[in-house]
Structures are given as structure tokens and as C-alpha cells.
């Protein structure tokens, strides 16, 4: 059957189809992540290639094995496992031991995604779920950002401790952090690619960032100071989280209203974690907690039925 026939076949709804497939979308997101990935590899050295490869390959392997063992259709072809693996790798410190990568891939694919029914059924972002699992389980490895001869605190932790940081280096990516989060520039290039293709829209990242900035200005204790705002936005995983994790199709609301609420919730939670919690970073916890609220948000902001007209107030006047 050719494509035209496919479009014309008689089936139940949805009737309007286009050429986007899961595989295509996932491939585009992987391409969009390439600038950040390549920058991470260039910045942190060749060992990060091993980290990324091991995480991606073990994610695909666990997806394959799980589906093979349970005699389910094999879905490694849709690239979602590869994307989850890549996102997880970008959330790892540059000198993470490889066995932690394997455990992380197992948690992301089997525990968070497949046990709940596979792609489309996962209740939170698999990569971030696994990251939080690892941060809680192997805190000393996951917060050790030392590489080569560099060691010390991440810029976000320095800001929290009241030290000064170089915001220009933070935007370009010449700093400590996880493999994928360091260069804001590379992430924004990838995000622009996705926005131009129409794969993600700006609702969630936009409301997220704006809410966070407002929250920071009110509660951050520094007032409206561009230096600190830039530092907070460019530091840590906020940009990577806002553009690539929070916009995950499965674990974010589908309506505009729902997305705005989701973004605001993300901004407030991130602010709360960064300002009031003991740690410096809170993006991953903010996103997975907000993921859990998505079913509630969608109940409050449901999809409008096709052809539904809101009844006029005061009843029918005739």
C-alpha cells in the first residue's frame, strides 16, 4: 500500500494524518541535541563519548530485552529509547563510572517507561526519573563534577554560596556541570531547530522561564539584578530541562491552558528548590514532580471537543 492509499483508507478517527511519525520526531530531537552533545564531548574530553555510547546502547538493549522477554512488539526502531539514553547521558557528570550509566539506563527504560506500558504511557520523563534515582542512590558520584585537572563547585553552587561567577563563560559553556547542560548557546541552537520545525512550541519553556525569573526576583534576595538572573538561567540544567525535558510529549499537558499551568508550576517549583532547598539545583525534581501533576492539570484544562460551542450565559433567548 502506498502512502496515498494509506491516507485514504477508511478507519475510525483520527482522520487527519500527516507524515510525522514517532521515529521522525525522535530523530529530529536527537539531531537538535547534537550541538549540546558535541560541545560536551569537546569540552570534557573523550571519556564522555564512552559515557554517551554506553548509556544509549544499554537503553536500547534494555528496551529490546524487555520486549523480547515479554513477547511484546519490538519498538527500538522508533528511536525513543536512544533519545532517552542520550538525554540521560547529557544529565551525567563528565567522569561518571560506566556501570552507573548502565543502572541509569535500566531504571529509565524498565522501571519508569516499560513497566507502565512503554512509550506513551510513562507517567514521568524516563531520563529525568532515572537521573533522580541516580542522584539519590549515588550522590557522591552524581555530584562530583571534577574533570581533568579542574575541580570545585558548579557555578550554580558558587552563586548559592555567595561567590561571583563569570556569566559569559556560563552562556558559552566554559564551566563545570553535567555533559549536556554546560553550553546554553548549544542548547538554544538545538531548541531553535525544534521550534522552527514545529516539534516543540514555546508555551512551556516560555512560561517556565518567565515564572522562574519572576519568582527569583521576588524571593531570590537579590532583587531585579540582571547579573544574578543571567547566572540562574544559564547555570545548571534549566535550559536543557525547559526545552528538551519539560516539552516531552508524553509527560506534558496537551492543551494551551494546560501547558501554561504546567510551565508556571515548573517555574515555581524550580524557584522553591533553588532558593529554599539545601542543594543548588532543582530542575530535575521540579520537572518530575510537575509530570505527576499532569493528569490533574489535564482534568482541569481538557481538550475541547470538536464542534463544541460554549453555552451562552443566561440560557437561550428567543
Amino acid at each position: 500500500m502506498n502512502e496515498e492509499m494509506n491516507l485514504m483508507s477508511v478507519t475510525s478517527n483520527p482522520h487527519i494524518r500527516d507524515n510525522w511519525t514517532t521515529q521522525k520526531i525522535m530523530m529530529h530531537v536527537i539531531i537538535a541535541l547534537m550541538p549540546a552533545t558535541l560541545f560536551g564531548v569537546w569540552h570534557f574530553g573523550a571519556y564522555t563519548i564512552a559515557v554517551i555510547l554506553v548509556t544509549v546502547i544499554s537503553a536500547i538493549f534494555f528496551e529490546f530485552m524487555y520486549e523480547k522477554l515479554l513477547k511484546l512488539p519490538i519498538t527500538i526502531g522508533d528511536c525513543s529509547a536512544a533519545l532517552t539514553g542520550l538525554l540521560l547521558a547529557l544529565n551525567m557528570p563528565p567522569r561518571i563510572p560506566l556501570w552507573i550509566c548502565v543502572i541509569g539506563a535500566f531504571v529509565a527504560i524498565v522501571l519508569v517507561k516499560q513497566l507502565f506500558g512503554g512509550l506513551g504511557q510513562n507517567f514521568m520523563n524516563p531520563a529525568l526519573g532515572a537521573r533522580c534515582f541516580l542522584v539519590i542512590s549515588f550522590a557522591s558520584y552524581m555530584t562530583n563534577f571534577a574533570y581533568d585537572t579542574y575541580s570545585g563547585a558548579t557555578p550554580l553552587a558558587q552563586l548559592k554560596a555567595g561567590e561571583l561567577v563569570n556569566t559569559f563563560h556560563m552562556v558559552v559553556g566554559n564551566e563545570m556541570g553535567t555533559i549536556g547542560e554546560v553550553s546554553v548557546l548549544a542548547i538554544v541552537i538545538g531548541a531553535c531547530y525544534l521550534i522552527l520545525l514545529g516539534i516543540i512550541d514555546l508555551t512551556i519553556p516560555g512560561t517556565y522561564i518567565v515564572t522562574f525569573v519572576i519568582f527569583w526576583c521576588i524571593f531570590g534576595g537579590k532583587g531585579i539584578d540582571p547579573y544574578y538572573i543571567t547566572g540562574q538561567l544559564a547555570g545548571g540544567g534549566l535550559m536543557l530541562g525547559a526545552f528538551f525535558m519539560a516539552t516531552d510529549y508524553v509527560s506534558s499537558p496537551i492543551t494551551f491552558k494546560g501547558r501554561v499551568i504546567f510551565g508556571i508550576l515548573l517555574g515555581i517549583l524550580t524557584g522553591v528548590f533553588r532558593v529554599f532547598a539545601s542543594g543548588a539545583e532543582g530542575v530535575s525534581y521540579a520537572i518530575i514532580i510537575s509530570n505527576l501533576f499532569v493528569p490533574l492539570i489535564e482534568r482541569w484544562a481538557p481538550l475541547k471537543c470538536f464542534g463544541y460551542v460554549k453555552p451562552e450565559k443566561g440560557g437561550d433567548k428567543k
Binding site: W99, I136, S137
Partner: protein, 252 residues
């Protein structure tokens, strides 16, 4: 297994396998999730609950004709609380270390759902001997389940077996397993494994091992949303078995 109802042996089997309080009825989740950070804690908690459960069941059953219906719950609490206080003091005297690590959860046995559940559902309606063994069976079922949960969590989360570390395993242990999320993961996995094994045995042998309730027993099965997974499923298996036998007969 076809055992005569309300005999000691049947009660033990019922508590440990058929209606295991942790893995089947899913009662008493508070101690199950909170104290099972090690296998030793699981055994300690399980056995102290078993003692309270057996004695409370026995005395509630003995007093069942004296206790007025309207105030049965307060009466149960008084009986249960007396035994819990005894166990609490005995443990404080003879096993101070275990007592320390279980902490508040020993006094909290008073409000354990399993004990209340058995008092209300069984001991209040049945004879003392059967009630006593019902308590022991339920208690041992509880002990076995939470010991296994504790063992798995201790092994994965802190790389130790009964407090003895295994080589350099602790360096590779995801500590999340000795925290709250690990308890939920291990409990869910165990429930799944138990259901899987029981289902396989049932399908192979055609003998019902898990809970069978029918409307005649007052369980109101026909109104239950899970009928197809519970009682209805067994009916399907029975039908399958009958068809298979028919086929065999036909061939012969």
C-alpha cells in the same frame, strides 16, 4: 489444596499462602514499608506482631459472646493494646537493640490493620482455637513477607545480608532501596512475583490456591469491579479445564 475449614492447619495455610496479609490483602502497609530496611528488622517486627495477633485473636474469640456489638472496636483496642504494651516492655528489656531500631513502630502495632482486620473478620465470629491459629498463620505470613522485603532491600540498598556486608558490594549499592521509594518498588515486585507463581500453578493444576469468595460467603463478588481478575478468572480456568478433559475423553 483441599483442607477442612477452620482447622488449625487450614488457618495456617490460609494466613501464609492464600490470604497473605501483605501480598494479597495488602494490609498493614505502614510497618511493611517503614521498618523493612533490613531483614532483621523484618523478622523482629513480624514476630512481635505475630505474638500480639495470636493472643489478641484468642482473647477476642474467648470474649466474643461477652463483648456488646456496639462497643466492639473499643474493646478490641483495649485487648490489643494490653498485649502490645507487654510485647513493648519485653522487647525493651530483652532485645534493646532491635527495640531501638524499630522505634515507634512497636507501640504502633496497636493500630495495625491486620490485627483489627482479623479481630473483626475472624476472631469475633469464630472459635478460640481456630482464631488462635488464624492469628499465628496471619502473623507468620506477615513475618515471611516483610522479612523477604527487608532482605531484598538490605541486599540491594546497603549490600549486606543480615547485617553482614558482602565484599565491597556497598560501594555499588543504590541507597534509594533503603529509602521510601525502594520499599514501594520491592513490595510491588514481590506482589507481582507471587501473583505470577500462583497463577501459573493454578493454570497448570486447575486447583484454586488464591482467595475464592462467592456471594454465598457474603463477599458480594458480583458487584465487585475486579470480578474478572479475581473470582471470574477462576471460573474461566475451570471452564478451560473442563473443556480439556472433554477433549481427552473424546480422543479416548
Amino acid at each position: 489444596m483441599n483442607l477442612e475449614k477452620n482447622t488449625p492447619l487450614e488457618r495456617l495455610y490460609n494466613g501464609i499462602v492464600k490470604e497473605n496479609p501483605t501480598l494479597v490483602i495488602v494490609l498493614g502497609m505502614c510497618p511493611t514499608l517503614a521498618v523493612t530496611t533490613s531483614a532483621m528488622n523484618g523478622i523482629g517486627m513480624g514476630l512481635s506482631t505475630t505474638v500480639v495477633l495470636a493472643l489478641a485473636n484468642l482473647f477476642i474469640s474467648l470474649l466474643r459472646n461477652v463483648i456488646p456489638d456496639d462497643i466492639r472496636i473499643p474493646s478490641f483496642i483495649v485487648i490489643i493494646a494490653s498485649f502490645v504494651t507487654m510485647v513493648d516492655m519485653l522487647m525493651q528489656a530483652y532485645t534493646p537493640e532491635l527495640y531501638k531500631s524499630l522505634g515507634i513502630y512497636i507501640p504502633l502495632i496497636v493500630v495495625n490493620c491486620i490485627i483489627f482486620g482479623r479481630a473483626e473478620a475472624y476472631a469475633y465470629k469464630n472459635k478460640p482455637l481456630a482464631s488462635f491459629f488464624d492469628g499465628i498463620g496471619m502473623g507468620l505470613g506477615f513475618t515471611a513477607s516483610i522479612t523477604v522485603i527487608g532482605f531484598v532491600r538490605e541486599l540491594i540498598g546497603s549490600g549486606a545480608v543480615f547485617g553482614h556486608t558482602v565484599g565491597n558490594l556497598p560501594d555499588y549499592s543504590p541507597t534509594i532501596f533503603v529509602m521510601a521509594p525502594g520499599a514501594f518498588m520491592v513490595l510491588a515486585t514481590l506482589i507481582t512475583i507471587r501473583a505470577y507463581i500462583i497463577n501459573r500453578i493454578e493454570e497448570k493444576s486447575g486447583v484454586r490456591l488464591a482467595v475464592t469468595h462467592t456471594d454465598e460467603e457474603g463477599a458480594n463478588c458480583s458487584a465487585c469491579a475486579f470480578r474478572d481478575n479475581c473470582a471470574g478468572k477462576f471460573e474461566k480456568v475451570e471452564k478451560m479445564m473442563a473443556e480439556k478433559e472433554k477433549e481427552k475423553e473424546g480422543k479416548a
